[in-house]
Subunit: 554 residues, 2 copies
Amino acid sequence: MGPAAEGKAALSTSPHESQEPGDPAVTSGARALVATLVASGVDTCLANPGTSEMHFVAALDSVPGLRPVLGLSEGVVTGAADGYGRVAGRPAAALLHLGPGLANGVANLHNARRARTPVVVVVGDHATYHKRLDAPLESDLDALAGTVSTWVRRSWRPGDVGAHAASAVAAARSAPGGVATLVLPADVSWGAGGVVAAPRPPRPPAPPSDADLDAALLALRSAEPTVILVGGEVVADPAAQDLVLRLATAAGARLVCETFPARMARGSGRARIARLAYLAEMAAAQLDGARHLVLLGARRPVAFFAYPGRPGDLVPDGCSVCELAPPGVDAIGALRALAEALAGAGVGSPRGDPVDHHRGAVRAERPSGPIDPETLGAAVGVTLPEAAVVVDESVSSSFGLGAGLAGAAPHDLLTLTGGAIGFGLPCATGAALAGDGRPVLCLQADGSALYTLPALWTQARESLDVTTVIIDNRSYAILATELDRVEAGAPGPLARSLLDLSRPDLDFVSLARGLGVPASRAETAEELTRQLAAAHAEPGPHLIDAVVAAPVGR
Amino acid sequence: MGPAAEGKAALSTSPHESQEPGDPAVTSGARALVATLVASGVDTCLANPGTSEMHFVAALDSVPGLRPVLGLSEGVVTGAADGYGRVAGRPAAALLHLGPGLANGVANLHNARRARTPVVVVVGDHATYHKRLDAPLESDLDALAGTVSTWVRRSWRPGDVGAHAASAVAAARSAPGGVATLVLPADVSWGAGGVVAAPRPPRPPAPPSDADLDAALLALRSAEPTVILVGGEVVADPAAQDLVLRLATAAGARLVCETFPARMARGSGRARIARLAYLAEMAAAQLDGARHLVLLGARRPVAFFAYPGRPGDLVPDGCSVCELAPPGVDAIGALRALAEALAGAGVGSPRGDPVDHHRGAVRAERPSGPIDPETLGAAVGVTLPEAAVVVDESVSSSFGLGAGLAGAAPHDLLTLTGGAIGFGLPCATGAALAGDGRPVLCLQADGSALYTLPALWTQARESLDVTTVIIDNRSYAILATELDRVEAGAPGPLARSLLDLSRPDLDFVSLARGLGVPASRAETAEELTRQLAAAHAEPGPHLIDAVVAAPVGR
C-alpha cells in the first residue's frame, strides 16, 4: 500500500479531519501539517531545520499563514517559542532536526515545561524505513522528547499528520499548558495523502473541589497565621492580583508569590506581591510561623537545591497545606469562589483598597555611581517604557533588582522557571515576536548569555524592539555564592578558575556587533540610564554591556 | 544509617576498592571520585559546573592531578571531550550540571558515541533525598544519559563513588570505546565515606571469528569484484593503512574508507584511501558492481538521509557482505590475520610498495583567485605544519577540499562522525588540549560555528594553538543542496529565508575578538594562504574568516 492509499484509509477512521480544497491524494503530509497548524491558530514557526525537514520548509511557501523565523541554534528556537507562548498565550511551532537538534533545544523546553507554556514542537526524523539502518544521525529521539513533553506522538502515515497536528495544538493549550511534540518522519512529510484537520478544543482547567475550597476557607477564617502562595495565572492577571490581595487582607493572611513565575504583572499602580526568595533560609523566614499554607496556582514550596543539613521542603513544621489549585485546576475560578464565600469580610467589594502598603511603589530616582544590582534596578525603573515585557535572567544580580522594578511603568515579568540557563536572550526574542510591538527588556547575566548568544542575530533579522542589558560581572557569581552555601570550603585556585569569566574578558559589544546588533558599554549608572533611554527610543534591538563594579567571585 | 556508615558497608562488599591514605570516613565522595579518576589515568576535566557540582569543583584543589578546563556551554565541554579522546586515545572527564546541562551536551556526545571516543561524563544531580521534591531543575536525567552512553550508573552512597568511577573509565576504554556516564547526587558528592578505587582493566576487543576470516579470505581470493571498506582503528594507524593497502592490491580489491572516520591518518607519504562519498549516488558508484564487501572496522554502508525513491542501504544488489570486524572486534588483528593468510600473494612482505598510485600525492600549488573549496584546500595544503590535527566540520565545502589536503604534511583528520553540528570548534579545543603542542587546524562551516562559538574563549584562556578557518558562505549551503535532492520543489522566499545566513551578515572577526581570539578576514586565496601561514607561525589561537566567493543559496 503506497502512502496515498494509506492517507485515504486514515481519512475514513479519523473523525476529526476535515479536507483541504483540492485532491487530498496530492497534499503531502507536510502541507497538511502546515495548513492544520494555521487552522488551529498557530501563526509563527521558530525553526532550525535540516534535511529531514525540507518538505516542511518548502510547504511554508505553498500554504500561507505560518511565519518562519530562523534561529541559529535550537536553544534559540525553543527559548523563543517559550517566550512567544508566555506573551501570546498560545503556542508557536518550533521546528527541529532529529534527535541532536531536539537535544540542543531540551534545556529551554525544560524551562517551558516548568512555565507550562504552550509550545508545539515538530521534530523531523529519518524516513520510517530508514530508521532501521542506524544512519549517523539516528538516536533515541523519543526518549529525549519524553523528558520535556506532556504529549508526544509520531506520525506514521501522511494521512495522520493533520489530525496529530490538531491534537498537538490542543494538547499544548490544554490546562495547565505544556510542550506537545510531534515527530515527523521524512517520508511521512513528503508522502501524498495528507489531510488537513479541523482545530480540536483544548481541555479546560478543572474546577477546584468543594473539599479543597472548604479546607482553604477554614484556613482563611481561622485566627492562625496563614500564608497564601500564589502563582500561575493568578499573578499573570492584574485583576486576579487585586482580588487575591483583597482576599489576603480581609483574611489577615500573608500573601507571597512563587519564586519563579512564568509571567507576572508588575510595576507602578499594580499590586505588590513579594516573591518567595530563592535562598531557602530567606524563603523560610517568609513562611515562618505559618500554620496554614493555601496554594493558589503555585506548587508546594521547595528549596532550589539541597544544602547540607538544611530542609528541602520549605513548609514549616506543623503547617497544614491546602493545594487548592494545582496545575490543571482553575486557580482564578478557585480565587473567585473564595472571594465570594468571604464577601462578608469585604473581599470582592468595590469599597476602596484596604492594603495601600501593597501598592504605590514610587518610581526610583535616577541612579548615580557604580553599576550594581540596586542602581541597575533603578536605571531600569526610571526608563522602562509603558507596557513592556521584562525578561529576567539576571541570576545572582536579581537579588537587588526588585525595588527599582517595582516602581517601573506597568510591565509583564517573565522569569527563569526551570533554572536551565541560556533562557533570557531567546525568550526575549520570542516575547518580541508575540508582543505586537511591545518593547522588550532583557536583563541577562553574562555567563548565561553565552549559551544562546545567536538569539541576537534573530532579533536583528526580525527588527525586534529588544533592549538587552548584559549584567557583566565577569564571573559565574551565583556559583561563588553557592560554593560557600554548600559548605565545600574555601575555593582554591582551580575551583576559582571554573567560576571566573575573565582571562580573557568577554567583549559583549564586539559579540553583539558580530551578530548584527548595535551595542554600547556602560560603566556608570548614569551611562546605563542614558543608554537605556536611548535604546528604548530607537527601533530594533540594542545591547548594553553593563559593567558591574567590584565583581563578585574574583 | 549515615553516609559514613554506608561508605563502610560498601567497602566490605566491593572487591575492587582500594583505600586512600587517611581515614576513609572523612574522604568525601567527590574527593574519592577525583582521586579515582586520576588513578585511572584521567588527567583533564572539561567542565561547566553548577551548584550540585561544587564539592567536585572544590575537590580539584585538594586532590592533585586533574586539570580543570572551563567551557562556557556544555556543547563546548562535550565536544572538547570528544576531541581530547580521539587524539589522546584515553578519556577526559566532562563535568555537567543536572539534566539540562547534560541535554546541552548531548549533541556532541552523540558525535562521540558515533566515533566510539572514550569519554567519562560526570553529571551532578540533586541530593538523593531532594529528588522527590521535583525542584525546578529536576528532570529525567537518566533518560537523557541513556541516549548517548554505553554505560550509565548512579551512585547512591559516597562509598560507591570510587568503584563506579573506576568502572566508568574502564567502560569508556573498553572496546570499541564509548561514553560512560556517572550520575553523582550532591549528597553522595559531599558525604563522607568515599573510598578511592584502583583502576579497572578495560575489556579488550574480541578476536574475529574463524568463520568470518574464512569468508573474507574466500571473497579476497575470488576473481569477483571485491571492495574492502575500512574504518575505525585501521584508518587511524598509518602502518595498518599500509598493510591494508598492500592486502587490497594483492587481492585486486577496491579499497574505500568509511565516510566519516573518527580519526584518519592522512597527508603526503601516507596511503591515499578514498572516503566513501556523503552523497548516496556517488557512494553507489564507488561500490558499483561489487560482488563482495569486506567490512574491516567499518559498518555496513548506508545513506546519510533517505531520499524519495532511492535506496538507503548502499550495498549493491547481489553483493555478499562480510562484517569481519564490527565494533568491539579487533580490526587490526583481523587485518593481520588476513595478510598472513594471503602472504603468498605478496601481502605483508617488505618488498616495496606495489601501489604507487595510492601514494605520492603532491603538495598543492599556492592558490590564487577567489576562495572556494578547491583553493581553500590548496591553501591549507601548502601551509599545514607537520604533525597537525585537522578537524573538519566544513559540511558542504568538504566536497572540494580533499585534493589539497591529500598533499599536505602528514596529519590526523577528525571528522563529524554523528552529523550533529557544532562539533568543530569544541573538538579542535579538546584536540589541542590532548595534543601536547601539536598544531590544530579547524575547518569550520559558518552555520555550524554558531552552535558552539564560545569554544574560542576556552582556546584563548588555555593558549591553545588552534587555527580556525570559518568557511563563510553566508548560508546553510548544504540545505540548499538537500532541498533540491529531496525533491521538495523550487524554494519560495520563505523557504529561502531559512537557508540564508545573511540579513544581517555575521561578522566572525568581531565575534572572535569578543571571545578573546585574534582574527582576520581573507577574501582571496592569496590572503587566506598568507594568513594561514602567519597563524600557524604564531602561538595561541587565531581565527580566519574565509569569505567564499559566489555563495551558494543566495
